[in-house]
């Protein structure tokens, strides 16, 4: 029951209403039992149409009755002349229009209309298109009608260009029409496909669309439709699946691979590992020990790697990467370093940098007029990220502080966004093969892109605001993990870190022994610092902890 206001009524009014309803109910019950009886007897006649019409015009969600009507129409189709049929179906379309007037959001009505149009001889699709125009005049956001329109358009052979024009006219009469912007996002790649980026749009067309969106948000800067569309125009180039990194550990007899996008080995692709030119057999698993889609994959070599030099090659269709483990070395990795500031811009990079700079200028103009507008602030930040995330970092962080003030409802969203920006910049600056990653003192509230730290041996996340470590299972090479001064309650997923030797959990929120249990699987863990956790106030916890983690050399409490 949506949008039905509760009104205070007197006892008298209530009684009158009760009586009226009782009468209605009697008629309703009589009609429905008659209908079910007739259907049981497979009576497909005019009377059945009339009875079901009575009920459906008041209650168009009674799906079983629409089904009965469908049966009746199919039966009539067998036995009636063309003229009779024409009249019958025309009447049904009028009946449906009457029902839709009362309930324009009835799934049953729109669906039945599709059935009628697909079943009747010589359906008039153009008229249906007019009907859609009419209903979208009443309510330009009725998604049932938009969907019906797309159903009609397909059959009436309306071109995407014509539909695109339709959305233009809808938007120019009212910018605040999310449905139209949405439709444009579907039509644009059909009309102007970008041969270089599948799913993308040609640059000159893109510029026109940017102008339209700008017009919209300069007219009404608080209307989210155009901003969402603008964000889409900024686009994201689809990455090709490739092997971005190969790492070999002599000690673990293990190969680790990072892909360019999440995939499931065995389902989306097959990866072959060869050791010194000989193909290896074995199982792939993810760091979290599952076989789900993942960026990181682990492969255990069955043969031991002796102290000599070995060459490991990982190959998939159209791509391969080799890595040479030198004589006496414990590990080796192969990864392409990228130009700082470009690694994560793929998330926002379909447009050329000239276009992005123009957009940034326009948004900054608007920002001067509308200093409290969160949409323009957010868009400015995203443009800065796309153009040069390193150069603009200071300004971006200032904007985050402002946006939290003007839109406090979504504070946590903005804080997580800031964390993502800072992590991206740290990875860009410290490089993809950094042995030590420093992410300390950044007020991080969450983790992103942990897969890019898979070869780091020391990771410093101290003095942040982390209450969990999403994706920490990717820290496959970490020996020293510094987590001091966060809000962690447990060591969830740390059981997946095979090389962890030194863990600092100083000043966190661990209050139970259970929270440390994952560490029992970290066979190399030698040093643990849990000073300043609520757990430390419990009696006998040291002894208990020693029993749980017998291989620890150093326990600091």
């Amino acid at each position: 029951m949506h949008g039905r206001l509760k009104v205070k009524t007197t006892a008298e009014q209530q009684e009158a209403k009760r009586k009226e309803r009782e009468k209605k109910m009697k008629l309703y019950n009589a009609a429905t039992s008659k209908i079910f009886q007739k259907r049981q007897g497979q009576e497909y006649d005019q009377e059945a149409l009339e009875l079901t019409a009575q009920i459906l015009s008041a209650n168009s969600d009674f799906y079983t009755l629409w089904n009965y009507r469908k049966e009746i129409f199919l039966a009539f189709k067998e036995k009636s002349t063309e003229d009779e049929l024409h009249k019958l179906f025309e009447d049904e379309l009028s009946f449906l229009e009457a029902c839709l007037k009362g309930n324009p959001k009835s799934y049953g009505c729109w669906e039945h209309r599709c059935f009628v149009m697909l079943t009747m001889p010589c359906p008039d699709w153009d008229r249906e298109l007019m009907l859609c125009n009419k209903y979208l005049e009443y309510d330009e956001r009725n998604f049932h009608c938009w969907d019906y329109r797309r159903f009609v358009v397909k059959r009436a052979q309306v071109t995407p260009e014509a539909e695109f024009e339709f959305t233009t006219s809808k938007i120019s009469s009212n910018f605040s029409n999310y449905s139209s912007w949405h439709y444009r996002s579907k039509l644009l790649p059909l009309i102007h496909p970008d041969p270089k980026h599948p799913g993308g749009v040609k640059d000159d067309v893109l510029i026109k669309e940017f102008e339209l969106a700008q017009n919209a948000f300069f007219t009404d800067p608080n209307d989210q439709s155009a901003w969402f569309y603008h964000r889409w125009l900024l686009g994201r180039a689809e990455k090709q699946l490739a092997i971005d990194c190969v790492y070999v550990s002599r000690e673990l007899r293990r190969v680790m691979v990072r892909l360019s996008k999440p995939a499931k080995i065995g389902a989306d692709l097959s990866l072959q590992v060869s050791l010194d030119g000989v193909q290896c057999t074995g199982e792939w698993t993810t760091p979290a020990n599952s076989n789900d889609h993942s960026l990181l994959w682990l492969f255990n070599l069955t043969a031991p790697l002796d102290g000599n030099e070995h060459k490991v090659m990982v190959a998939m269709e159209g791509s391969s990467r080799s890595c040479t483990l030198k004589d006496g070395d414990e590990k080796a990795s192969s990864v392409d370093e990228v130009k700082p500031g470009t690694l994560f811009s793929y998330q926002l990079s379909a447009a050329t940098s000239d276009t992005l700079t123009q957009e940034l200028d326009a948004c900054q103009q608007l920002y001067e007029l509308e200093p409290d507008n969160k949409w323009v602030l957010l868009t400015i930040m995203l443009l800065m990220r796309a153009i040069d995330p390193l150069k603009y970092l200071k300004e971006t962080l200032e904007h985050i502080d402002t946006i939290i003030k003007v839109d406090p409802c979504r504070t946590n969203y903005y804080k997580d966004l800031r964390s993502k920006f800072l992590i991206e910049n740290a990875i860009e600056e410290q490089g993809l093969s950094a042995k030590s990653v420093d992410l300390s003192n950044r007020e991080l509230t969450t983790l992103r892109h942990t897969e890019y730290m898979c070869t780091a041996e020391r990771i410093d996340l101290s003095n942040n605001k982390l209450s969990s470590l999403p994706g920490c299972e990717s820290f496959q090479c970490v020996k020293e993990l510094e987590l001091k001064g966060n809000q962690l309650k447990s060591c969830e997923k740390m059981e997946c870190l095979p090389l962890l030797e030194d863990l600092s959990l100083t000043d966190n929120s661990i209050s139970t022994m259970e929270g440390l249990r994952p560490l029992t699987l970290c066979s190399k863990l030698k040093k643990l610092n849990i000073m300043g956790n609520p757990l430390c106030e419990q009696d006998d916890f040291v002894e208990e902890l020693r029993n749980m983690l017998p291989s620890l050399d150093t326990l600091i409490t």
């Binding site: 206001l5 309703y28 799906y63 797309r150 996002s185 569309y229 889609h293 997580d416």
Partner: protein
């Protein structure tokens, strides 16, 4: 200049405390008044109505007030020879009501009292070559039905009865520029539909396809100044979106992106202090549908007087645990 924000204003006199006893009494009374107008007129969705009522009672720890025997007899009576369930006795089989029936049976641990093989046959027979699902033999396609089919089979532990890859690909073809999902390819994003698609991908362990940060942003932008959530941009807030939006955010691990306290206040303001139950918005008529989604929303927000709800199935967490259904949460 510009369009005013569509929203409601919460009055100071609106309820601010959870009226659990009243809600229990409301649902109990609702299901007892079988001859009333409202009840009769909603017969076409009875099976779902019973699922809403039983689930909310279970979440409030009062399932024992409902009649297990009576419900199970009714459910059994709604199964057709094809295996599917109708909304009521004599109503046609449909995936929507088949899921509701399976949810009710699971709640009561009574799945074995119906023909399970036939249900599986019915559900899998509705999958189309493109991976989509018909709602029934008449051929309406909608991503809601993809969710119904997958959720049904998950509860019955028979996911492999359908082509999972194709089912996933169809749902992905309904993904939009904003990271959300619509009814069919080309359809606009809608929070209810997003819940179905994200829930379905969660059950099938394919959440990596979701652009979680993009979608999470769109979803948290559903929160209006009143604290309530709408289902699409520029729409009014509605308690049922406390469920569709919140559950989706929970599944993709971004529930904290909305303002919890403001939303709690909005949901509580939608209670009817006289009759019990929740309405879509403060001051409107209550119904069992909004009562379930109000209570389930509060449960996701951590209200301790309500039992934990599973964000994918909208059933008590311990029921899902008992059945042993697993799902992916980011």
């Amino acid at each position: 200049m510009g369009t005013p924000v569509k929203d409601v204003e919460l009055k100071d006199s609106a309820p601010q405390n959870l009226l659990l006893d009243k809600h229990v009494a409301y649902i109990e009374a609702y299901s007892a008044k079988k001859d009333e107008y409202e009840y009769v007129m909603t017969e076409y969705l009875r099976m779902s109505g019973i699922y809403w009522g039983l689930t909310v009672m279970d979440l409030m720890g009062s399932l024992d007030r409902m009649s297990r025997e009576e419900v199970l007899d009714f459910v059994k009576g709604c199964q057709h020879e094809c295996g599917g369930f109708g909304a009521s006795i004599g109503h046609d089989p449909h995936l929507l009501y088949t899921l509701s029936a399976v949810q009710i049976l699971s709640l009561y641990d009574g799945v074995s009292s119906v023909n399970v093989e036939k249900i599986i046959e019915f559900v899998s027979s509705l999958q189309q070559p493109d991976g989509s699902f018909y709602g029934d033999k008449w051929g309406e396609v909608d991503t809601r039905f993809s969710f119904c089919a997958v959720a049904c089979l998950a509860l019955l532990k028979k996911i492999d009865a359908i082509n999972v890859d194709k089912a996933v690909n169809y749902v992905l073809s309904c993904m939009n520029f904003d990271g959300g999902f619509g009814c069919r390819p080309g359809s606009e994003s809608h929070s209810g539909q997003i819940y179905c698609c994200v829930g379905m991908l969660s059950i099938l362990n394919r959440l990596h396809h979701v652009q979680a940060d993009m979608l999470g942003w769109w979803l948290c932008e559903r929160q209006l100044p009143s604290g309530g959530l709408n289902g699409r941009p520029e729409k009014l807030p509605d308690v049922c979106y406390s469920w569709w939006v919140l559950a989706s955010l929970k599944i993709i691990g971004r529930l904290h992106w909305i303002d919890r306290d403001k939303l709690v206040r909005f949901i509580l303001a939608c209670q009817d202090e006289e009759t019990g139950g929740f309405a879509d918005r403060p001051g409107d008529m209550v119904d069992p549908f909004h009562t379930l989604f109000g209570i389930a929303g509060l449960s996701l927000l951590g209200e301790r007087q309500i039992r934990g709800v599973n964000p994918v199935f909208c059933m008590p967490e311990d029921v899902i645990k008992r059945i042993g259904v697993s799902m992916q949460l980011l």
